[in-house]
Each structure stands twice: as structure tokens, then as C-alpha cells.
């Protein structure tokens, strides 16, 4: 018990307290700092880049949430069937999960840039005259990152659903079929109630990771956050302000607290909705 408590204290409790305290200071990596009251939070309210970043993160979550909650479930139902060669498809869908996020994002940035595979192919087909600025226009950049996240996340959540589907009793499906229920009805009335708790878990995981998105946007925008920094996420802002010899730990900590609050919000909402539905 003692080692676990110590671990929790050192790696969870202490950093959390430290972040809260730093948020009220102008602390730097070298030389400490001083208490500045609510200055960092006053700055949060007037930070135009943070407003953009919050909007990006929320759009990211709103698009990813339904896609990564429903699509992996459908995929899991497809690959759950015991037919020859299905293992190949399971593996193929899961492959993006084991690939490094950085490597995958780099491959996507090569594919999506102005001289990349996608634009080159579309131009060769004559579909477009000019390259589509996937990586240099705010919303195209955000949606490119969303596509990457969904593509990479499908296999991961599919595996979670596969294990949940294994617990849905086969007799229920058979009984529903005997009563004349078609595949859609069985999906709605048997499968979904059977995996409801897993869907909730997946929703919470997707919402939290979408609000905390970093790698995809960072690498696709080459670390710049797009023109004007308008395609940044909140975590990218935290990274920007906290690194280097002159890292602004105080402001970065205030941003971390803002991110924590907005991450906890949807989580509580989803739990509450589930409790009501149950």
C-alpha cells in the first residue's frame, strides 16, 4: 500500500498541487518566480489564441465523439463474424494503432501537402486545378487532423468493442430473430443495450483525448499551428509557453487548469446522461 500511495503522491498529487500553485505565479525554469495573483487567469480571458485553440479542441471533440463511438462498433460487428480470413481484416484495422503517432502523422503530412500524394493524384485526374491547402488553411488542417485521429483510433476502439460484443448473450440475438427482428432492430434492441457501458467508456476516452489533441495537429502543421496559429490546440499552446530557457510556467499552468476544467465537463455530462438513460 505504501509504495502505491507514495507513487500517487509523487506522480499525481504533487504535480497537480504544483500546477495549481504555479498558475498564480510568473515562474520560469531558472530562478523561480513570484506570486502574481490572478494575472494569468485574467490573461486567459483575453487570449485570442486560446479562444481559437478552445474552439479547435471542441470541434475536434464534437466530430470525433460520434465517429469514434459508432464506427468502431460497426467495424467490430463486421469482424466479429467467424469467417475464413477475418483475422487478416482484424489485423489490418488494428495496424494503425500500433504505428507511432508521430510516424503516421509524418506520412499523412507527406500525403496531404501541396506536392503530396493526394493533391498530385487529384491534379493528375484533373479533379482540381490548384492543390487543396490541407495543411495551410485552418479548418482544412483541423479536419485533416480529425481524419487522421479517426483513422488511427478505429482499430483501438474496435478491439474494446470486440471484447464487449463477446459478452452479449447469443441467445438474446436468437430470440429476437425468432420474434422476427431484422439486423437493424437487433442492433438497436440487443447489441446497443449490451454494450452501453462500453460505449460510455469509449465516449469518455474519445472526448478526453480529443480535447487534449496534440501530436496530429502539431506534426501536420509542422509545429506552427497554421497561419496565425489559428489551428492550434490547447495542449500546443501549453507546449509553446512552457518550453525553453524562458518557459512561462505560470501561464502554461493556468492554461493546464483551463484544459482540466473543460475536460472534466464533458466527462461528467456523459456519465450523467448515462445514469439517466439507465
Amino acid at each position: 500500500m505504501a509504495p502505491a500511495a507514495l507513487w500517487l503522491l509523487v506522480f499525481n498529487v504533487w504535480p497537480s498541487i504544483n500546477t495549481i500553485v504555479l498558475a498564480f505565479t510568473n515562474s520560469r525554469p531558472l530562478g523561480g518566480g513570484r506570486f502574481t495573483g490572478l494575472d494569468n487567469f485574467a490573461r486567459v480571458l483575453s487570449d485570442a489564441q486560446l479562444a481559437d485553440a478552445l474552439l479547435n479542441s471542441i470541434v475536434f471533440m464534437l466530430v470525433c465523439l460520434p465517429l469514434l463511438t459508432i464506427l468502431p462498433l460497426l467495424l467490430a460487428i463486421l469482424v466479429e463474424k467467424k469467417i475464413p480470413g477475418i483475422a487478416f481484416f482484424r489485423t489490418a484495422f488494428y495496424t494503425p494503432v500500433v504505428a507511432s503517432a508521430v510516424v503516421v502523422a509524418l506520412i499523412w503530412s507527406w500525403a496531404l501537402n501541396d506536392r503530396g500524394l493526394v493533391n498530385g493524384f487529384a491534379q493528375w485526374l484533373g479533379v482540381i486545378a490548384e492543390p487543396i491547402p490541407f495543411l495551410t488553411e485552418r479548418w482544412l488542417l483541423v479536419f485533416s487532423a480529425i481524419s487522421l485521429t479517426v483513422w488511427k483510433g478505429l482499430g483501438y476502439y474496435m478491439i474494446i468493442y470486440l471484447s464487449a460484443l463477446g459478452n452479449v448473450r447469443r441467445e438474446l440475438h436468437e430470440a429476437a430473430a425468432v420474434d422476427g427482428a431484422g439486423p437493424v432492430r437487433r442492433f438497436r434492441s440487443v447489441t446497443i443495450p449490451g454494450v452501453r457501458n462500453t460505449m460510455l467508456l469509449v465516449s469518455v476516452m474519445v472526448a478526453v483525448s480529443a480535447l487534449r489533441v496534440f501530436s496530429e495537429l502539431f506534426i501536420l502543421s509542422n509545429g506552427t499551428g497554421g497561419p496565425g496559429g489559428r489551428a492550434q490546440s490547447v495542449v500546443m499552446l501549453i507546449q509553446m509557453y512552457s518550453r525553453g530557457f524562458y518557459g512561462h510556467f505560470g501561464y502554461a499552468s493556468a492554461l493546464s487548469i483551463v484544459l482540466f476544467v473543460i475536460t472534466v465537463g464533458p466527462m461528467l455530462l456523459l456519465l450523467r446522461l448515462n445514469r439517466k438513460a439507465a
Partner: protein, 426 residues
Amino acid sequence: MRRRWTGPVLATVMIASGCGLGGADPEGGAAPAAAATGEVKGKVTLQTWALKPKFTRYMEGVIGAFEKKYPGTDVEWLDQPADAYSDKVLSQAAGGTLPDVVNLPPDFARPLVKQDMLLDVAQVDAKLADEYVAGGLDAYRFRGHQGTYGYPWYLNTDVNYWNSELMTKYGLDPEKPPASFDELVEQARIMKEKSGGKVLLMSRRPELGDLKEAGVEILSEDGTKFVFNTPEAAAVIDKYRAAFKEGLMPRDVLTDTYAGNAKLFNEGAVAWTTGGGNHITSVANENPSLAPKIVASPDFGVPPLYVQGLSVSKRTRNLPAAIALARWVTSPENQSAFAHLVSVFPSTKASANDPFFSRSDGTNAGDAKVIAFTSLAKAEVLQPFEVTDAMSKFIRQQVSAALTGEISAKEALDTAVAECNKLLNQ
């Protein structure tokens, strides 16, 4: 009542002290930890930046000769990888484990000077100004701090590099590359038209250095505020914006990092880049067929001065050996030997007359070396060391937004200056 407050107050004090609020200064102190004079012997640590494995033999030779010259000395050589060197130095400084002699470019040295962690070498070395070039020494003198906080080691600057094959193919004369920004735009227009936009000449957006070259002051005289939001600076960005709008630059410039144009140049997507005196050698590794086709010409305006130096930790326990080692590595002989291996330039006055630097061997790399060496005479540090990572990133973001036309150049500069001042004074 008093007892009830004791717990929270104690907790607050403990938290505050643990959160780096006490101005903890693990390396600081008014005086060096050891005397400057005395016999040169004992153990001393030297940290360099990404010299292994390419220059292992050179460094081992330099260290071996030092140990031979000063019997009883033992140099421990630490070489850190290129990536995340600033993080490594930061953790060493914060943890009180800075090596005795450490390779720090001036922008890394400045925050350590602010915390009183580096030795003012001018105090212990009277010959400094006689032996090292003024530009190199000036880079280690910081606003608000008396002293010189490093021995300049090697210098470099930027040279223009052109892809002669692409220039010839698309109607340009590589013998007469652009000599100014206006000529660059003119020739970029020709290349775009003749190549049908397949190959472009320009591929970089303006940086603070470009504003400085145009005569714009970046920081106020007293270093307390940024002042680069002038009409002259806006005019520079407007020129780039017009070129971008005309399609003379790829859209990649909007999200490229500093080295972005070199990458596009190496891929053959654009025909111009800037780089140090040794750029052709680097290209030869990445794209061997491109290297022989490159021609070099001088930078358009005031060339940037890049300085590397060796600083001495104020906390060193072996000051005589640390100073002797820093002087030894940066001595004219050792710097010249190093510069013969790679196109960097010595910071010592005695090396200036070495014909190796002023005479080309007839190769394009040799020509580039001579151009870089000649340019050094008028090179300046263009970006103030007060500019931090976050500021640089913010400025680039605003300039990119101005290039797209989303905001005006003036708006971009005003926003950038406001944010930089906020960060500077925080």
C-alpha cells in the same frame, strides 16, 4: 485560532518553496567557487554539442594535447546529441550539474548569465580582447550584465545558394543570381512563368533578421520593449505578401520552420536557399547529385552572424584548469585545425590571415567558404537574444497570417509586438 492557521500556512510555505518560487539558484553566487589562479591540474569536464562521431578524432586530439601540455589534468569529454540540447543544458543548470566548460551559443548562455551561473571570463583573462574578434566577444556580452560570458569558438554566417541547373532550364543565368530582394522577385517571376509554376525560386517568409537587415530596430535601446512594428517593417512584409499572392512562393512557407526552405531546396522543389558556409557539404550527404549543381553568392543585405562559444561554469571547482581548457580549445591553432575540417570560421584574430579561408580550391564548396569568410567582416547578430522560443513562434504565426492576407502586415506586427512585450515583461 492561531493554531488552526498554522497547518495551512506551513503547507503554503512548503508548496511555494517546492514550486521554484523562492528564486532558488543552485549554481549562483557572487564569486566563482574556486580561485582563477593556480596550477592547471586535476579533473575538468568539457561539454560539446553534437561533435560525435564526425569530429571525435579531432576532439580527442585536442584533449590529448591539452593533457600532455598540462600533466596531471584529466579531461572528461561529454558530447550531447543535437536534439534537445537546450533542454539538457536547462536540466543541468537547474540541477546544479553544469559541466566546468560548456559549449553554449549566446542565446543559451544569456538565461544562465541572468541567474549568475556563468563566469565573466574577461575578469580572469586580460588578453581576451587582444585575441578574439570583437563580433564574437560582443555576442557574449549581454544587456544589463557587465562582463563577457564565454570564449567565442567558431563563427558562421549565411550565404545564398542557387540551383544552377534549374536556373538555366527556366531562363535564368546562374552566373548572375539576384543581388537584392527586388531582383529576387523579378527572377522568381521569370522562373515561375517558364516552369509553369512547377519550380519556384523563393521559399521563405520574412524573419526578424530580414526586418533588421531593412534597418528596423527590433528591441528598444534599453532592452525593455520590442519596437519592430514600424511602417518600414510592414513594407518588408508587404513585399513578401505580394510575392506570395503572385504565387512566387509555395504555400508551405506558411507552416514551415526555419530550415524549411533548405528542405525544399534539397528536394529540388525550389532553386534558392540560404545556409552556412558548409551547406554544400551537407547537401552532398542528402542529395549527392544536387551538390555539384549549386552556386553560391553573398547574402543580400547585412549577413547574420552565428556564434558558438565555450562558457565556464561559475561553480567549477577547478577554475584554473577550466579556463586553460576553454582557452586551449578556442586557441588559434585548434580553431584553425577545426575550420580546416568543416566550413566554420575561427573567432581568433590570428586566424584571419590564414589563406585557407580566403582562397577557394576551385570547387563550389570552396567558393561558398570564401564568400562566407568575406561576409563575416560585415556580419551582425540580427536577432536579439531576448527573443524566446515562444516569441519566435508567435511572430512567425503572425507573419504567416499576414502573408495569406488574413490580416494586414501592420496588424500582424502590432499583435506580435504586444505579445512579445507581454512575454518579455512577465
